[in-house]
Symmetry: C2
Subunit: 206 residues, 2 copies
DNA sequence: CAATTGAGCGTACAACTGTACTCTTAACTA
DNA sequence: TAGTTAAGAGTACAGTTGTACGCTCAATTG
């Protein structure tokens, strides 16, 4: 198996990926990136793009996957912090907000393609979000003895609230962002306590 | 003031709007609609478009506004149904789901432009969603004696959950949609009961 | 009725797009 | 070392886009 050649190829592949990520912004979504623009930014001829991806879509899906990996790593880090003690809700929210603060463009990619034009994209993003729901579901089952269906419903609600506040936080001032975060934490508390309360009532046959 | 001429103009204006709405679908978002496509569909010359809108963006904002009006009318209808009695949560959810069932494309427009490329769009959509939050906030204050801040936080959470489930419901089968709706209702109950519970605790000085 | 207005059309153009095809040349293989 | 492979460049083309400009001609106005 080759070393030098494959290595060079991998490098330009990476430069394509970085070029694409670098062009994403509040005013430029992936779907209005053109193959030529990306190639230009990556320093290759437009036609050379095809040596690495068949499509812009194929490149996009790669970005989504990479983003998912990064996010999951981050949440693992968050869980470690929780084990060392601290409020589950606050630490999770802090972690998430930290991520979108530092990677606004890749988070925008997720947001946009979640309801975007390509079903392959939509599916990919849905898959990433489902990872979150599933992990949280397991956490709730293990830590708080929830039954699966209840746990999933609860997890889904929590993830929805967090993800959405992330979306709104993108454009806000530091001040408004703080307020939003406070409200988010309250909403998460509401839903957690609500679920607990309903479970108690059910157990008491009430 | 003219009658005939202005009327004709209004008619082709409407045909532009309908053309645009007609072209929106799961696979075609407003931002990849071209002026020429819309003009073609509306049966006018590309350049005639400018007699009615300066921009595609101006057309888009019009669509968002129209969508907002429709939605608010619908929610008023829902409130009337509630006054004649019934579960607040269930009726609201039914109403909302009915809307996106019957107007999936215009709802997709809202979803997409919510985190889209144009800040004018984002603002417009945010404004529409805020209408919902505000109306619900007032409702909670009047009907359940919430204090304003708590009411707003609660309303925001509820609206977020509903709006988001709407987004997910778009692509689901009838069956999955029912399940989603069930979970949504549970999540709304969680959050409402959680808020009530926390308020009680606070009042008991607990 | 004569003059004005303005919605809509047609032409034209420069900019940009994706991609088919051919060529180069450095890295690999045997 | 001679032959093969494949990444990347260059050219070319047909298609689409927004929009500037000038024209037409029916409705409106005075």
């Amino acid at each position: 198996m080759s070393t030098n050649r494959a290595l060079q190829k991998e490098q330009t592949r990476q430069s394509i990926i970085e070029a694409a990520l670098g062009q994403l912004s509040a005013d430029k979504s992936f779907s209005n990136l053109s193959l030529r623009e990306v190639a230009r930014e990556a320093g290759i001829a437009p036609t050379s793009f095809y040596r690495h991806f068949n499509d812009m879509e194929e490149l996009g899906l790669t970005l989504v996957d990479e983003c998912g990996v990064t996010l999951r790593q981050l949440m693992r880090k968050a869980r470690r912090r929780i084990e060392k003690k601290g409020s589950v809700i606050k630490i999770s929210v802090d972690t998430f907000m930290e991520f979108i603060q530092q990677n606004p463009n890749i988070f925008r990619l997720l947001l946009r393609e979640r309801s975007g034009t390509s079903s392959a994209f939509r599916d990919a993003v849905a898959r990433e979000i489902n990872h979150f729901k599933d992990e949280l579901t397991h956490y709730l089952i293990e830590e708080s003895n929830y039954e699966h269906e209840q746990a999933y419903t609860l997890a889904e609600g929590l993830v929805t609230l967090v993800f959405n506040s992330g979306a709104e936080a993108l454009d806000l001032s530091r001040n408004k962002k703080m307020q939003l975060k406070q409200r988010l934490i309250k909403q998460l508390q509401f839903i957690v306590i609500g679920a607990l309360t309903m479970r108690k009532r059910q157990n008491n046959g009430n």
